[in-house]
């Protein structure tokens, strides 16, 4: 390397490095350190979840045991389920995604680095909030599903508030991480990695990211509605005042069933990565597997009521969900056959990662078959809420996800740490896990069929399940020992293992093309790809690849003065632009601390302080979004000239545009779930508005909503001004749109304040105020975005065509149109519907 390259590399490395010391640790935004932090934190919670499981199994070892009382047992099974599903499984897969997605697609980092940091802190604080309930002796005890009315204010203590607020923070973190993983996959793929060259691991993360956005949002909404019922006195789930317990179940399971596949699909991505490496051949039936992943992604949303077969819903809609449950089994089965076909005729190396995959086959297929059984209504009626179901979902979740996760950890340990694992301890750990799992959960099928309910703290001797329960408890200890050995072996190897070299497996995907562990900056230049296994089939230097290679060559150790990654188009992965990526900052941590303070104030019933804190958090996020890119002009000009690509971009080329689309998708899901809740409450009410409340006054409300509609029309005209470069009319028009937003907010507030009933009167009143409050908030955010753009337009003299102004105009306009549409829909539903239905 010549001295100039050496200097460039040093500068490049420094640009990508996080600051040192504790402050630097807090301010880090790089995907790999944060991905590792996510995984380690999730594994910490996993270990706590195992300890809780051992408490439960010890209690159930013998009949009529008194080791735990019923209250403690309720608390422990609630925290075990919540820990494993909310604090371990999803954060762990997101940690894996944050670390490996950029590596496997040849990107320098993830789409929104500050959001990665914000998500991590929020996840950690959410988990700690849940567990803080132990300090106050108020541990949640309504199960991980928190069914109402058990979780309502009448039957559950303050522990549920810790649970709900902690869960809300974790969900926001989860949705944020999913959004950035999706944007990264769509826009930051290596040049040449067209849609048919995307690794199966990446396909699974793309589908899961989209699923999280649409599945977590209804749960986030449901958690907030339940917390409002508990703390502010709304009545969504209070059946005495027109609320519905089934509404909670619908919103919960609309998240809950896709959640299973959200956990399972990344595991399938890991399996599809490991098998070809150890079978030393390409994955068979790539298209079939991609089709199966996409179909599972869709159809998993069509199964939620199969968790409600015994809830008393009409048979006909239940039958649709039964049919959908059978169809998804076909898609999952297709993947199994593709993996078997890949192994068939090959001579696989049975190293530790492969052992976990073989264990997966045995256990997951077992869980899948019993899944088809419980998807059949008459069978489900017999085993619902018995230990049979506990056995089934542990087969699916441990067999289908945890074993592949462990396989993945062993597979990628050399990549992350640069060191090899100990095969003997790895094998012993796997053996203990496999034997322990089957000892624990196989007997549970029989225990359930013999009639033992789940979530019951003890059982009588004459039920005849004493021996089986004892075997299950012994198995649980063996299983816990296995997990401990496996994890200790991994940590020890990461610290003291022998050096692994860059690619100890001869892997085919991109992460094996660079050193292990990866350098701070990731790729020294964007890799050029023409195959699903780019390491096995490196790119030629001829033809169109010569153009891609030339782009990559220019970007070797460049840009060196600021963080950036190459943007490519969604389908063909052709270079489109460079995307600026922000560097280390303490801002995400500070916002998370303020949100945590808001949650703590809420728990302390200081609602005004909580509101103030929430306002501060929103203002900080607004400031954060307004920060300008810091790009050294000399290098920028030189690079732009050589690359012939924009360094700042707008529209579909900009990550910010995709981020806004994602935010609208999330809010649209909230709106959809709220409207669904409105009609669901209406469906089961004999009169509407309930309990003789007055119908909404259309004429008064018409005023603010008409102003809002005018604001929408004005902005449509602004679009024309903007596209024709007419600055003054645009400034005038945008001022009008901002004024309409302010006018709507004032008018709507006046209408709501003068409504003759309050939000706590009954369920109708609660949903009326919540829907209108949501519209009000959305319009206020839209108005703030328009006002921010307007201020920039006035301050900056640069032409309207410059990318940064374009991006601001596009984003604020998209959001404004969404806000106006939200307002119109809310008007239709809350003001007109009571006169029609």
């Amino acid at each position: 390397m010549n001295p100039v390259d050496g200097q460039l590399e040093q500068r490049f490395t420094e640009t990508w490095q996080s600051p040192s010391g504790p402050a630097g640790w807090i301010a880090a935004v790089n995907n790999r350190p944060l991905g590792v932090r996510y995984m380690l934190t999730a594994l910490g919670f996993f270990f706590v979840g195992i300890i809780l499981a051992l408490f439960m199994r010890t209690q159930l070892a013998v009949p009529d045991n008194t080791f735990l009382g019923p209250d403690a047992y309720n608390q422990i099974f609630t925290m075990h389920g919540s820990t494993m599903l909310y604090l371990f499984a999803v954060p762990f897969i997101e940690g894996v995604g944050l670390y490996f997605v950029p590596l496997l697609i040849g990107s320098q980092d993830i789409g929104f680095p500050r959001l990665t940091s914000f998500g991590y802190w929020l996840y950690l604080f959410g988990g700690l909030t849940m567990y803080a309930s132990f300090l106050f002796g108020q541990v949640p005890d309504a199960g991980w599903t928190a069914y109402t009315p058990l979780s309502g204010p009448k039957f559950s203590g303050p522990g549920l508030d810790f649970w709900l607020l902690g869960l809300s923070m974790i969900e926001i973190a989860g949705i944020g991480a999913a959004l950035e993983i999706v944007v990264t996959i769509l826009k930051f793929r290596a040049p040449g990695m067209a849609i048919q060259h995307i690794p199966l691991f990446i396909w699974s993360y793309l589908v899961v990211g989209i699923m999280i956005i649409f599945a977590f949002t209804p749960l986030l909404l449901a958690s907030l509605l339940l917390e409002m019922d508990r703390s502010l006195g709304t009545r969504f789930f209070d059946t005495a005042l027109g609320g519905s317990s089934l509404l909670w179940q619908h919103l919960f399971w609309f998240f809950g069933h896709p959640e299973v596949y959200i956990i399972f699909l990344p595991a399938t991505g890991i399996i599809s990565t490991i098998i070809p490496v150890f079978a030393r051949r390409r994955m068979v039936a790539y298209e079939l597997v991609v089709a199966a992943v996409v179909i599972v992604g869709f159809v998993s949303f069509g199964l939620w009521t199969h968790h409600m077969f015994t809830a008393g819903l009409p048979d006909l809609p239940m039958m649709f969900f039964m049919a959908a449950s059978f169809m998804i089994a076909l898609a999952s089965g297709a993947q199994i056959f593709a993996w078997i076909a890949t192994l068939w005729g090959s001579r696989p190396r049975y190293s530790v990662p492969m052992l976990y995959i073989l264990g997966f086959f045995f256990i997951f297929v077992n869980g899948g078959l019993t899944g088809v059984m419980v998807a059949t209504m008459p069978f489900d009626w017999q085993v619902h809420d018995t230990n049979f179901v506990v056995a089934h979902f542990h087969h699916v979740l441990i067999g289908g996800a945890v074993l592949p996760f462990f396989g993945g950890m062993y597979h990628w340990l050399p990549k992350v740490s640069g060191r090899m694992f100990n095969k003997i301890w790895g094998g012993i750990g796997f053996g203990a896990i496999f034997i322990g799992f089957n000892l624990t959960f196989m007997p549970m099928y029989i225990i359930g069929l013999l009639g033992m309910r789940r979530r019951v703290y003890t059982f009588p001797e004459d039920l005849g399940v004493g021996t089986l329960n004892l075997i299950s408890t012994i198995g649980a200890y063996v299983l816990a020992l296995g997990f401990t050995i496996a994890l200790l072996s991994l940590f020890w190897s990461a610290w003291r293992g022998r050096p692994a070299g860059g690619d100890p497996w001869g892997g085919g995907t991109l992460e094996w093309s660079i050193a292990s562990p990866p350098p701070t900056y990731g790729y020294r230049r964007p890799p050029v790809v023409q195959d699903r296994y780019p390491v096995w089939n490196p790119v030629s230097q001829e033809g169109r690849n010569s153009e891609l290679n030339a782009v990559a060559e220019i970007l070797e150790f460049r840009p060196s003065g600021w963080r950036a990654t190459l943007v490519t188009d969604v389908t063909n992965a052709r270079p489109q632009a460079l995307q600026y990526l922000p560097g280390s900052t303490i801002m995400p941590f500070m916002v998370s601390v303020v949100i945590l303070s808001a949650a703590v104030s809420f728990l302390a019933k200081s609602f005004i302080l909580a509101g103030l804190m929430a306002g501060v958090a929103i203002a900080m996020i607004g400031r954060w979004m307004c920060l300008e890119p810091e790009i050294p002009p000399e290098e920028a000009e030189e690079l732009a000239a050589r690359l012939n690509l924009p360094l700042l971009s707008s529209g579909t080329k900009a990550a910010g545009w995709w981020g806004t689309i994602g935010m609208i998708a999330i809010l649209f899901t909230v709106l959809g779930a709220l409207i669904y809740a409105y009609f669901y409450l209406r469906l089961y009410s004999s009169e509407w508005p309930q309990a003789g409340l007055a119908k909404p006054r259309i004429l008064e409300s018409l005023f603010p909503f008409a102003i809002l509609a005018v604001g929408g029309i004005v902005q449509a005209a602004n679009s024309r001004f903007w596209r024709r470069g007419l600055r003054r009319p645009l400034l005038l028009g945008m001022s009008g749109a901002v004024l309409s937003g302010i006018g709507f907010a004032g008018g709507e507030l006046w209408v709501l304040i003068n409504t003759p009933f309050g939000p706590t009167a009954n369920a109708y009143a609660s949903i009326f105020f919540t829907l209108n409050g949501f519209a009000l908030l959305t319009v206020l955010v839209g108005t703030a975005m328009l006002a921010g753009t307007l201020i920039r337009l006035k301050r900056l003299s640069e032409p309207l065509e410059t990318p940064r102004l374009q991006l601001w105009l596009q984003n604020s306009e998209m959001f404004w149109f969404f806000a106006v549409a939200t307002g119109m829909l809310v008007f239709l539903v809350t003001y007109l519907m009571p006169y029609i239905l």
Partner: protein
């Protein structure tokens, strides 16, 4: 730095994406519709209104199933036609292999969604007389 290749047939972006996910979107519409009609129709008593011996709910379900399966079949057809034309012209458009893949992969995917919509619609025929 980067130039567009010369080619003779290039369907628009929307058409390509319709050929890729049209079936999935049709399935989503079908799911939401059959659930809403199923639960809301049955609870509200609309299933007790009979038209030609078939309940109102069943008629609505048959209607939305038909309305959903048509775009799914359409997406399959468009994908199949595009994929065939792409195959014939592959050598003229080496730079848009990703776009071509949307069609060639999309049509079997859509065909599977047609099958799923069909299977999920079958239960209605066991409940023609009500819920």
């Amino acid at each position: 730095m980067y130039s567009e290749a010369v080619h003779t047939f290039r369907p628009g972006t929307w058409r390509r994406w319709f050929a890729f996910v049209g079936g999935g979107i049709a399935w989503t519409f079908h799911l939401l519709a059959i659930y809403a009609i199923g639960e809301f129709g049955c609870v509200s008593g609309f299933d007790e209104k009979m038209y030609s011996g078939i309940s109102g709910v069943a008629w609505l379900l048959i209607l939305v199933s038909g309305l959903s399966i048509i775009p799914a079949i359409g997406a399959t057809f468009v994908g199949y036609v595009d994929a065939r034309r792409d195959r014939r012209q592959a050598e003229h458009s080496p730079n848009n292999e990703g776009e071509r893949y949307l069609s060639s992969f999309g049509w079997p995917l859509n065909a599977l969604f047609v099958l799923i919509i069909f299977v999920e619609s079958l239960p209605v025929f066991a409940y023609l007389g009500g819920c």
